[in-house]
């Protein structure tokens, strides 16, 4: 049985292995001139199950992106340990792909070259490289745009290119930092459907950071709710959705119940975070 089918069957049985683990992770930033050191995050404990779709929601400035940086090895924690597939994270581990909120396409390369750029570091034959690019182009609906440059594409299409560039590396953990943040509501819903389809097809684990409670509930198996700074998990909800799902689950009464439940936890934290930001501004 290959890795992908194992992940899928593990999802179905609920006996999922742990792919990434954060234990007692904190992050402090040194004091700026005349200010106190900033305790931005933690302590955070989290176990990501193989093949699950996990989302994080929290108030602006609570440390979600800091959490992403630590999980992906882009920056180290101040204290605690972060592991991926049982190994301590030092730098970005092999098998982790990241999609950022900002447009990260390379404007000097066309779509096809953007995708194959992601494969440079992998020892692949030219044939395999081309096959992977073709597959990613097909999955993301970019076949007709392979020769287009990013400046010729809409924001949504450019984000598709970024997702496709991550997919070609066949990551086992896909980390997304508010990837649909700059898109309109309808495009966000449709991109969410695309993401769910990709998640089902690849069997990868997804770690999804978002501001949107709706998006988190619609997409995820599990939602982690973060507190105001320093961000910690104050709640962890299982959504209970079937694996085969899409954006139409927003019409399900269960969807409203879950979003209400999360907002109940989050409202006070969002107010507290606003107060913190006001104090800093003053």
């Amino acid at each position: 049985m290959d890795d992908v089918s194992h992940q899928v069957s593990a999802r179905e049985t609920g006996e999922q292995a742990i792919i990434a683990k954060l234990s007692g992770v904190t992050r402090d930033y040194p004091a700026a001139r005349g200010a106190k050191p900033l305790h931005a995050l933690g302590p955070i404990d989290l176990e990501l199950k193989q093949g699950e779709f996990f989302s994080v929601v929290g108030p602006s400035g609570c440390g979600k992106s800091t959490l992403l940086d630590i999980l992906t090895g882009l920056s180290p924690p101040t204290a605690g340990t972060a592991t991926f597939e049982g190994k301590r994270i030092h730098g970005v581990p092999d098998g982790v792909g990241v999609v950022f909120q900002e447009d990260a396409t390379f404007p000097w390369l066309d779509v096809e070259a953007n995708l194959s750029f992601g494969l440079k570091q992998l020892q692949l034959s030219a044939r395999e490289r081309q096959d992977r690019v073709e597959q990613a182009l097909r999955i993301m609906g970019l076949v007709g745009f392979r020769s287009a440059f990013p400046a010729q594409l809409s924001g949504g299409m450019r984000q598709r290119v970024c997702i496709a560039r991550t997919l070609v590396t066949q990551p086992r953990l896909i980390v997304l930092d508010e990837p649909f943040g700059s898109l309109d509501q309808q495009t966000r819903l449709l991109m969410g459907d695309e993401l769910l389809r990709i998640w089902r097809e690849t069997g990868a684990t997804v770690f999804f950071i978002t501001h949107s409670i709706d998006e988190a509930v619609m997409l995820s198996d599990r939602v982690g709710v973060m507190s105001a700074r320093p961000g910690t998990f104050i709640d962890m909800l299982e959504t209970g959705w079937a694996q085969k799902r899409d954006s139409r689950n927003v019409a399900d009464p269960h969807f409203g119940k879950l979003t209400g439940q999360i907002w109940g936890k989050l409202r006070g934290e969002a107010l507290r975070q606003m107060q913190l930001q006001n104090d800093v501004a003053l």
Binding site: V92, D103, A104, W108, Q152
Partner: protein, 251 residues
């Protein structure tokens, strides 16, 4: 030809036509301005006779060397300043006010250092051109989106791969602009130095013709310089427009 290009051509040919008419009707005296048709004929004679070939070659060589040195060292210094923040903090005020200093006042210093001739002209012209390249390099490197540096880390590129594959292409539009400015300043620096301070080159030949009331040669050589500058600029512009980042903007 696109409408803006057509308009530009109309403006140029209209101005030439007006000047020709003004000269031919005596509105402008022949001893002051020659009609464009006569200037063009004069240039043709200059090129055919080969009398100024040595001066033309010398001037173009000096411009090429100046531009190459200014672009190369301007880029290197720009990268260095971008990497060493305290050095940049110390030098940036000087860079900001650099073009307030008339660079040509340093010519005596360069004569002492390099002697009379091309070396001094190149030195003073590099001094004029290099800062444009330094500031363009700094702007280009400053504007590389942080997300692209993060993407390089995610792709596990090493420092050299990041610089060559991501940072340099990302900053390229600014570097091209800097190079264009450096080339323009190289033309200005070399021709002006020859005109005022030298005994050789096209700048000196224009000055010599002017002092001897030789309008035919003076205007012919002026036209030559204008054509070379415009031609170079059009080539650089065509290269600039071919950059993928410019494609959508130009549509």
């Amino acid at each position: 030809m696109r409408p803006p290009g057509l308009l530009a051509a109309l403006i140029v040919f209209g101005a030439i036509g007006l000047l020709e008419t003004a000269c031919q009707t005596g509105l402008l005296q022949h001893s002051v301005v020659l009609p464009p048709s006569e200037i063009a004929a004069s240039l043709w004679n200059i090129l055919q006779s080969g009398a100024f070939n040595r001066a033309i070659f010398l001037t173009l060589s000096n411009i090429f060397i100046t531009a190459a040195l200014a672009i190369f060292f301007g880029f290197v210094v720009g990268v260095l300043l971008h990497s060493v923040s305290y050095l940049r903090a110390g030098l940036e005020p000087f860079l900001a006010s650099y073009y307030a200093i008339p660079t040509f006042i340093f010519y005596p210093v360069f004569i002492v250092l390099f002697g009379v001739g091309s070396a001094s002209i190149i030195a003073i012209s590099v001094l004029l051109a290099i800062v444009a390249m330094i500031t363009a390099t700094l702007s280009g490197l400053d504007r590389i989106p942080i997300v692209l540096r993060k993407t390089a880390k995610v792709m596990r590129l090493n420092t050299l791969e990041t610089a060559v594959s991501i940072l340099l292409p990302s900053a390229l539009p600014y570097l091209v602009t800097g190079a264009r400015l450096a080339i323009a300043y190289a033309f200005i620096g070399v021709i002006a130095s020859e005109f005022i301070l030298s005994g050789q080159g096209v700048g000196y030949a224009i000055s010599y013709a002017y002092n001897n009331f030789d309008n035919q040669t003076m205007y012919g050589l002026i036209l030559l310089i204008i054509l070379i500058v415009v031609g170079t600029n059009m080539l650089l512009d065509a290269f600039d427009r071919r950059q993928p980042t410019q494609t959508a903007r130009n549509r």
